[in-house]
Symmetry: C2
Subunit: 394 residues, 2 copies
């Protein structure tokens, strides 16, 4: 038997990705994944885009390329961010990554020694927990309410815990909770972090998918110290199969990400970077995003209404103003892992919430995705799910 | 100032990639990179391939996908390896990675604790040194001759050094030396490693690019213990801008790579994986490889003959039987870093050999690439280079 590094003890299969293998089977109504709606992918347009990329870039698109990424795409990303989020970035602040998952892994690699502390929302994104775990940190969960991290709790932890090396946040339509931070909380958070020299990760895959209300400024836009590291991606507003995400950070910090990317995979595929860039030249990505928003909004409504109707009285759940997920807290008697086993037999699936608590807990919670299912299926699936839950509580 | 993890002290910019930024300028004759010849990339054919992928796979090609990779491509890779290298693999032994560089990074992450020992050839591939360095190992260089690692030296190290967790090898047309291991040395090496429970990495990006003689069996084909981890890539036989490589290993070991890939970037782009697979369905990749081989062979000949002609008597250099590089040892007086500075002024570039020795040394060596330059330019560049060297020795 070969011997593995100690860190491998901490590296486990993602529950969600293992679950997705089961929920792939025909007939299953799955609220488990975090998949965008594939019927909205611009398949036909991409044929023209890809041909055009090869016509205009030729062999350059297929050769080794710079680690930082394709410059015109980095420029477009900087400009989009500046116009939407109140940031002040240039292409030199942008590194292209293989989805924002790669940005999470690099963040762990750059900042975390064994036993260092990461602060995160409670619950938080499973993919971030998995990425950070390989660097063997201790994760401290900051209690949250509907408006984001509770600042007095955060302040107490900041003042009392040692070796805090990172604060990990998802301010917009959080995965898994579907909640968003209020403007006031964003400001207060950044004031609290000021002068502490602790990097803040703003993981922001869903921010453009707002259904209700106005877009709020990003944490990065309040970033006077230059310590906010913004992770973006085209996976939810374009298509995930291109694997194009980015890190936006001050140059000094970004340099570290570039070095790590060099050793990790040299650079992201030139061809897919150019596809995304060319798509934005040839078509109006914002129009596509509007379409995605309007479809998801209807699905959010369908799911919300169905839960109101079908789930037992007293169930708590979020009304997400955007994004892909809602979050349900059931009666404390119910363990959603047991519930899932039963639900899979009835061809309906979700993710048990426990996976999103790095230190355990949340046994009565579940994450439900609405972006990947038609309104009819949402109604059918939630009815099924509600029935099973009610029966369990009888 | 934010604080970085200790490992960042070990992570440095790759000399080559930094150098490539300079050698990009017009008029430069660069033997520095390891770039394939872009004029051989099948740009026109890829237009048809990409359209066909979108026609046949549609939105599936653009959605999130399995971490292991696109099954038909994994099957093709296993079958190609079995027919060429005498291995006995199925698709379940294959994980698709973002180039073989990602396989190197994952290898470090899976096997190396701080201060663990990696054995490697001396000199060895800079990209591997960079990838492993992030995990803070100690590298012990095994002396080599024209036939590979010296087995008595290797045996001595295996018997005396503690904490050896990995042996890293490039048996075919090694980067940087251009040398290949003889069949006898391959067998002897695997006999020596038998029963030791130490994983062996066989990094094999160039093995299909043999100009002279017969293809030799891979180390993986002698792998009775199941400890050989083979890293392959389409970068040198197709095009690097797709960033499609793979890890081939026994299932128990491969599982660890899959877990690490999950946390690192979820999966490689579905669209580029399908492009490679579809290309192999629609066209004869082996014919392309024959063409690449015949072009590179001429360039190898041009470079070899020019060096014989233009470099000072007594210079030692390899006659590579395949791959992209030759390796030159100059008179001991010459420091090739100083030489490079002078050469850049005269618009000719190479990589100083020192970068390929993880523990320093090789100041009088250089790596020369011949795949990326026409025969005329090779003649012109080597003449220029030879002139500068001769002048330095006067």
């Amino acid at each position: 038997m070969v011997e593995y590094a100690k860190r491998m003890e901490n590296v486990k299969a993602s529950d969600i990705r293992e679950l997705l293998k089961i929920t792939d089977r025909p007939g299953m109504i799955s609220f488990a994944g975090g998949l965008p709606a594939p019927e909205l992918f611009p398949v036909e347009r991409l044929k023209d885009v890809m041909v055009k990329v090869l016509e205009s870039s030729g062999a350059d698109a297929l050769q080794y390329a710079s680690t930082e990424g394709y410059a015109p795409l980095r420029l477009k990303i900087a400009e989009r961010m500046n116009s939407r989020y109140g940031t002040c970035l240039t292409e030199d602040n942008i590194l292209i990554t293989c989805g924002s998952q790669q940005g999470l892994d690099f963040t762990g690699k750059i900042f975390l020694n064994e036993e260092d502390v990461v602060l995160c929302e409670s619950p938080t994104y499973l993919g971030a927990i998995n990425a950070f775990n390989a660097y063997r940190p201790r994760m401290i969960e900051v209690p949250t309410d509907n408006d984001g991290m509770l600042l007095n709790e955060l302040e107490h932890i900041l003042d009392t815990a040692d070796n805090i090396k990172l604060v990990y946040t998802i301010p917009d339509f959080q995965n898994p909770s579907g909640r968003s931070w209020s403007q006031k909380r964003r400001q207060g958070f950044m004031e609290l972090m000021a002068g502490r020299d602790i990097p803040v990760v703003e993981d922001s895959p869903y921010s453009e998918l707002r259904f209700d209300g106005d877009m709020l400024p990003s944490l990065k836009s309040f970033d006077k110290d230059g310590n906010v590291i913004y992770l973006g991606t085209f996976s939810k507003v374009f298509c995930p199969g291109m694997r194009i995400g980015w890190v936006a950070a001050e140059k000094k910090i970004l340099e570290k990400y570039v070095l790590i990317k060099q050793g990790a995979d040299l650079h992201s595929a030139g061809i897919t970077q150019r596809n995304v860039s060319m798509y934005m030249d040839m078509f109006d990505l914002d129009e596509d995003i509007s379409m995605i928003r309007s479809v998801y909004k209807k699905r959010r409504d369908a799911m919300y209404n169905a839960i109101c109707e079908e789930f037992p009285k007293g169930t708590r759940f979020t009304y997400p103003q955007g994004g892909l997920f809602t979050w349900v807290e059931l009666d404390g008697e119910i363990d959603t892992r047991d519930l899932l086993a039963e639900c899979l037999e009835h061809n309906v699936a979700f993710v048990p919430g426990e996976s999103f608590f790095p230190n355990g807990g949340g046994k009565n919670t579940m994450r439900l995705n609405y972006s990947n299912m038609s309104e009819d299926k949402i109604n059918e699936g939630i009815k099924l799910l509600g029935g099973i839950i009610r029966k369990k509580l009888q």
